[in-house]
């Protein structure tokens, strides 16, 4: 222990993030700090006192440090925890290094269907089809298989159709922290609000009509909702997860613009062609 210099909290967290692939949560960090204090005692017990606020502060500081130093990676908040990710503008080189092609991308019809669900959730299939003007059952099935969409209940409409919503995986796939990150949210949400008002009145009417039904209905809803979820690994989004943590919104879009223009075209042309040239040379 001769050379042992007590690290700062942000260092410890940084080190933890470095060895962890999955997102690290505040709770986990606290648990580790306490457990270490119990095991090692001495000065390590200082860190056991760190509360959530302190931990968040340390993460913020670490995050700022990494960005300032242009380390090539940064801390990102995802799925209720933090993890390290490379800076997006370094992607083209990483893809070469990791020998990755382009990732799986969704087709436009699939993206549109997703967009409708994202803005209008919870919504039933007929709503989606009314907007798109064409059947979406197969797309919907694919989106469910990809775990981007899930059933979140049953509607009170005749036939009690399924209602769909987006999943946590949807947020991850698009790098969204909250549904508010979606553009034009105001306008499209307003429609959503109107619809919900409409649905609420309809539901109220239905409830008035058949006063005893609701309890039964709710029970069925829960049971079926659960069964459907069984195949999904992640828990459904809670309201907090969707709405929570909406701090750094604007900045994302800024550098995203340049990146799109500069890299997307170029990397398709030049990087790929370079590769091909190399291959040909070898032959």
């Amino acid at each position: 222990m001769n050379d042992f210099v007590l690290p700062e909290l942000k260092q410890i967290i940084g080190a933890m993030l470095f060895v962890r692939k999955e997102p690290l949560t505040v709770e986990e960090i606290r648990r580790v700090l306490t457990a270490t204090a119990e095991r090692r005692g001495g000065i390590t017990s200082d860190f056991a006192k760190a509360n959530e606020a302190l931990i968040r502060e340390a993460v913020d500081e670490l995050s700022r440090d990494l960005v300032e130093r242009k380390a090539g990676f940064h801390v990102t908040e995802v799925a209720g925890g933090w993890r390290l990710e490379n800076d997006a503008n370094c992607g083209p080189w990483l893809r070469t290094l990791l020998q990755k092609g382009r990732g799986t991308r969704l087709s436009l019809p699939a993206l549109e269907t997703l967009a409708i669900i994202a803005y209008r959730q919870p919504c039933v299939r007929s709503e989606i089809e009314a907007v798109r003007g064409v059947a979406v059952d197969q797309i919907l099935r694919n989106l469910m298989e990809m775990q981007l969409v899930r059933v979140i209940g049953r509607s009170e409409l005749p036939g009690r159709p399924w209602m769909y919503g987006t999943t946590q995986k949807f947020m991850e796939h698009f790098g969204l922290k909250s549904l508010d990150d979606l553009p034009g949210t105001d306008e499209l949400r307003r429609m959503e609000a109107e619809q919900q008002a409409l649905r609420a009145t309809k539901a109220a009417e239905a409830a008035a009509d058949e006063a005893e039904e609701p309890t039964e209905v709710e029970a069925a809803e829960d049971a079926e909702g659960e069964g459907e979820e069984g195949s999904f690994e992640r828990e459904g989004m809670t309201e907090e997860e969707i709405v929570g943590a909406d701090d750094s919104e604007g900045e994302e879009d800024e550098f995203a613009d340049e990146e799109e223009d500069e890299f997307d075209d170029e990397d398709d042309d030049e990087f790929d062609e370079d590769d091909e040239d190399d291959e040909e040379d070898e032959e």
Binding site: N86, G91, S107, E112, A118, L188
Partner: protein, 259 residues
């Protein structure tokens, strides 16, 4: 010779997509659609899709009927239109409203696409990118179906005058064309769609080639890319292009020499 290679390409686009495509293509005013012109074009594309035997939704036909109904109503002098419509000033209005609403979600979808692309450049600690558990097999990712059909249509129009040549019934199959295209892709890596159709003499050959192209795209062997909207479409070899295509046909296709 084996049986004709059957391409089953599901079309996930609907009639509204086609209408918006046509409106945008000719830079028409969505609030004042020249219904006669749009109907003609719509039907033309519909026929092309049927000619290619694409798996299109019945809604396409419903829309064709709707368009024709609107067209016929517009032909009537205002005072002779049925009572009900007197309130609704313009028979196009319902359609316009639907198109405008859909357009909003299309724009939202474009933003999602942009987010997805950016996300693609980000990897986690283990170099793993968040992968969708199911292969996103919803075909035709890079260029819209209707852009491709436009290119196909142009190729067909060019050949029309020489249709007589079809008398010398050369026989083309989609299978052959898949091979030819695949071979060419391996050799050239990239060519434009008009080059692809160049020197083709018959509608039959063009149709086979086009179907072969769709199939190669569906099998992730080829990619269609377009630099700007309505610009020239280029066909590229997909990064994971197999040595031998097509995998579905047996007994045929002498394999390409391994490189």
């Amino acid at each position: 010779m084996q049986e004709e290679y059957k391409v089953r390409l599901d079309v996930f686009e609907g009639p509204l997509d086609l209408l918006l495509y046509l409106i945008k293509k000719d830079e028409l005013d969505i609030y004042n659609i020249p219904i006669e012109r749009i109907t003609t074009q719509y039907v033309e594309y519909l026929e092309l899709m049927q000619m290619l035997d694409l798996n299109i939704a019945g809604e396409f036909l419903v829309m064709a009927a709707t368009l024709m109904m609107i067209k016929s109503r517009l032909l009537l002098p205002v005072e002779e239109r049925p009572e009900l419509e007197a309130e609704e000033e313009d028979p196009r209005w319902d359609l316009v409203r639907q198109l405008v609403e859909y357009k909003k979600f299309k724009d939202a979808a474009l933003h999602l696409e942009f987010l997805e692309q950016r996300r693609e450049d980000i990897f986690g600690r283990d170099g793993a990118d968040p992968v969708l558990s199911k292969e996103a097999d919803l075909a035709l990712r890079d260029v819209g179906l209707f852009d491709l059909i436009s290119a196909f249509n142009e190729a067909l129009k060019k050949v029309k005058s020489e249709e007589l040549l079809e008398i010398f019934a050369e026989h083309f199959t989609v299978t052959d064309k898949i091979e030819v295209l695949g071979e060419r892709l391996r050799r050239e890596k990239r060519f434009s769609i008009s080059e692809m159709f160049r020197d083709m003499r018959s509608r039959h050959e063009i149709a086979c080639t086009f179907l072969a192209l769709l199939e190669l795209i569906r099998l992730h062997q080829a990619r269609a890319v377009q630099k700007e909207t309505y610009g020239e479409i280029f066909i590229e070899a997909a990064s994971g292009m197999a040595e031998v295509i097509p995998p579905v046909v047996d007994g045929g296709a002498p394999s390409a020499p391994p490189n």
